[in-house]
């Protein structure tokens, strides 16, 4: 039993390291989209890993921890997608390092609904 | 010294948040900012009340484990402040919503949110 607990603790530690790296990426990256890349997703991974580690430590808590992992895993990508899309339409600029922007090209060619200025 | 205990820290933090909230209510010109100050004031008060009910090294007043069911008074924190705060938070939401809708109505009438442009009741 002791060995399971140690495995769980190590997994939790890895999760918190991933969380920390995600926050570090949040600080270091140059523009919003790259911050989403490293920030929210590395931290989602880190939280899921932390909860997984707790499952190893307390096998009796598996139900709620599993639901929590499911919730975080479904809702967080959706929220970061919605935020990124709406920020793009709102006009948050891309960084200078960006090499290619197919979405802007397609908006120009009228293939995609343009940024709406109805207000 | 008990200065460094979580209940004392929470008391101080709640107290400071309360003061910041009052400062916001009194000095800001924008009505929505004043409502934000009110909601901070609310949060600070709740933290103070909950921190007053905390007892050191005791657990939550939910007796779902058998070891908590005997000699309960020496194992749990005070449930009464928690119950009070529980109702206070919900009322706080109702009051905040009411204030916000009232601010919306005011803006509809006067087309401004700046409190200094409301001169009707000034003497």
């Amino acid at each position: 039993m002791e060995i399971l607990k140690i495995i769980g603790a190590v997994i939790t530690l890895m999760g918190s390291i991933a969380l920390f790296l995600g926050a570090l990426g949040l600080v270091r990256m140059p523009d919003l989209y790259n911050r989403i890349q490293t920030g929210t997703k590395a931290s989602t991974f880190g939280t899921v890993l932390t909860l997984l580690g707790l499952i190893f430590i307390f096998p009796g808590w598996v139900g709620k921890l599993f639901i929590l992992m499911l919730f975080v895993g479904i809702s967080n990508p959706v929220s970061s997608h919605v935020l990124a899309r709406n920020a793009y339409r709102y006009g948050v600029p891309l960084s200078d390092k960006t090499t290619v922007d197919r979405l802007a090209e397609d908006i120009e060619n009228k293939e995609v609904e343009p940024v709406n200025n109805a207000l | 010294m008990q200065l460094f205990s979580i209940e004392y820290i929470s008391l101080v933090v709640g107290f400071l948040i309360l003061l910041i909230g009052i400062w916001g209510i009194l000095t800001r010109k924008n009505i929505l900012k004043m409502v934000i100050g009110f909601s901070l004031f609310d949060t600070g008060t709740h933290i103070i009340i909950v921190a007053l009910g905390y007892v050191k090294n005791k657990t939550a007043p939910i007796l779902n484990q058998p070891d908590l069911q005997t000699d309960t008074a020496h194992k749990i924190v005070d449930p009464v402040p928690q119950a009070l705060v529980l109702t206070a938070i919900v009322i706080g939401l109702g009051v905040t919503a009411l204030m916000l809708v009232y601010a919306m109505k005011l803006h509809n009438e006067k087309k401004t949110l700046n409190i200094q442009n409301y001169k009707d009741l000034k003497w």
């Binding site: - | 929505l32 100050g37 706080g92 919306m104």
Partner: protein
């Protein structure tokens, strides 16, 4: 001991967020900062052994209050745009 560290860090974050909520010029940021304050207040309640209050604060203080604030602000913004 670990409780003490958590409480101190949470207190610092809440105070900073409260100051931002009062002093920032941008109203959107102020509303989000008020949300951050109640969010961490909820973690502090868990630390103070009050899960009931934490649940209420998490669902009402940070969820619904932010929603209502933004609805009202949106309405006001739209009224302004029509002028």
């Amino acid at each position: 001991m670990i409780y003490l560290i958590i409480a101190i860090v949470l207190g610092i974050i809440m105070l900073v967020a409260a100051v931002i909520a009062v002093y920032n010029k941008d109203l959107k940021t102020a509303i989000i900062a008020a949300g951050v304050t109640s969010l961490f207040a909820s973690v502090l309640y868990v630390l103070l052994a009050a899960p009931d209050v934490a649940l209420t604060e998490a669902s009402i203080g940070s969820g619904l209050t932010t929603l209502i604030f933004f609805y009202v602000y949106n309405k006001i913004r739209r009224n302004n745009a029509q002028e």
